[in-house]
């Protein structure tokens, strides 16, 4: 008896699922994708423009691109490119953010060491830059952040040059040249000294930086 009930339940369930599948296929074939036939993508309502107006739109689109040298940073490949239009003028192996997380013991602060992504611009150009160590640099070492400002000054870590791009992030030199090509930084972009010198002298203030 139980065997019979189970068989019937299984049979009805299977028929129901197959029926629903057929209904789904039919819905997709004859209802949902009907408007997509030959198009796949719907343009929606749009006021028709003349060819000249469309050409103007295309021109406006192209005019958004930087007109001078700009920097592109590929954080996955740890590569930096200096480009002019679509021409690569300079390529360098760099180190980008590690993606690691640091939490303050017993505190409420938390840092994620990612290189920020998006569009930025060169906001500062520094020779022999000094790093004012933020709180996380001490917490990471298991130390208490000092109250004395002078204890935060580090003249060695950033190399010979630094290009600032906002919120404390820099493209700068490194002591850890063995780690170039790896994601190991706290968010800054580290570059080897010869490449950094070249990039620093190529790129003017205000140049755009694209990071992805």
């Amino acid at each position: 008896m139980i065997k019979k009930i189970l068989m019937w339940t299984f049979g009805i369930g299977a028929v129901l699922i197959v029926g629903l599948m057929i209904a789904g296929y039919a819905l997709e074939k004859f209802v949902l994708s009907k408007e997509a036939k030959g198009a796949t993508i719907t343009a929606g309502k749009t006021a028709p423009l003349t060819p000249a107006q469309v050409a103007q739109l295309v021109h406006r689109l192209k005019s958004q691109a930087p007109r001078s040298l700009y920097i592109v940073v590929d954080t996955a490949a740890n590569r930096l490119y200096v480009k002019n239009d679509q021409t690569v003028m300079k390529e360098a192996i760099v180190s980008c953010g590690s993606g690691d997380i640091l939490e303050e013991p017993g505190g409420k602060r938390r840092w994620v060491f990612d290189t920020p992504r998006g569009e930025f611009s060169v906001t500062s150009k520094l020779v022999n830059p000094t790093w004012i160590k933020p709180d996380w640099a001490f917490i990471e070492e298991g130390e208490k952040p000092p109250a004395d400002y002078n204890e935060r000054i580090d003249n060695d870590s950033l190399g010979d040059y630094a290009l600032g791009f906002g919120a404390g992030f820099f493209i700068h030199g490194t002591l850890y040249t063995r780690l170039l090509g790896r994601n190991v930084t706290h968010g800054c972009v580290r570059v080897g000294d010869p490449d950094l010198s070249e990039i620093f002298h190529m790129i003017p203030m205000g140049s755009r930086i694209y990071i992805y």
Partner: protein, 215 residues
């Protein structure tokens, strides 16, 4: 005789030029595509453009291409996609990459110098190799893009077969459910040529990233 031939060829060219030249009216999708991209290019952001016909995914900013990934093949199921910038609501994978928590006072990934070969390999940091090769991108309003790589490796192939088979069952059933709930449903299946491409795409996509899908 020669002058007459030149005249005839000239007349034919004159008749065909308006059809093939600049005077040809742009189609509505072409116009809408430029308008939609211009909206995104006006902003200081990066955005994605998935071109199904050309089989490419382009990461762009200000109208210029920063990086492209090829598409080996694609398939669409359900309703058509609106031609406009769609923000990414959720990126999900079976095995999402995990970030490392630094223990204060100990040498963490980011503050460690690689003095030994072992250290150089095992830094405990998040890198491209840690990214998944199978994932889906949810753009809301029922639009989900599934990404998988072409692969010869055993486990990814098995996942590909499983996902392919489950779609045969799940797509029709979710369609019925979506129609019953009066919801929209679009499933796009993208196959990328290699695992590296899939990992690169996963890395590049961030929550909220705008994407234009077009053909």
């Amino acid at each position: 005789m020669t002058a007459r031939r030149i005249l005839i060829v000239g007349a034919i060219l004159g008749m065909t030029l308006p059809l093939s030249g600049q005077n040809k009216s742009p189609s509505a999708p072409d116009q809408k595509l430029v308008e939609s991209e211009l909206v995104l290019a006006n902003r200081p952001i990066t955005y994605m453009m998935i071109n199904m016909r050309a089989k490419t995914i382009a990461l762009k900013a200000r109208g210029m291409t920063l990086k492209t990934w090829p598409i080996a093949s694609w398939r669409i199921w359900g309703k058509s996609v609106p031609l406009k910038g769609l923000p990414l609501k959720k990126k999900s994978a079976l095995k999402s990459p995990k970030r490392t928590n630094i223990t204060p006072g100990k040498e963490g990934g980011a503050n460690k110098d690689a003095n030994t070969a072992k250290d150089a390999l095992d830094l405990g940091v998040l890198e491209l190799n840690d990214m998944p090769v199978h994932f889906s991108l949810d753009f809301g309003n029922g639009i989900v893009v599934s990404v998988r790589p072409k692969t010869a490796r055993f486990w990814p192939t098995l996942v590909n077969v499983w996902k392919g088979a489950s779609r045969i069952v799940s797509n029709p059933l979710t369609t019925v459910w979506a129609v019953f709930r009066r919801k929209s449903l679009t499933r796009i299946d993208l196959v990328l040529p290699s695992e590296r491409d899939a990992q690169g795409l996963y890395w590049a996509y961030l929550d909220g990233h705008y994407t234009i899908i077009y053909k």
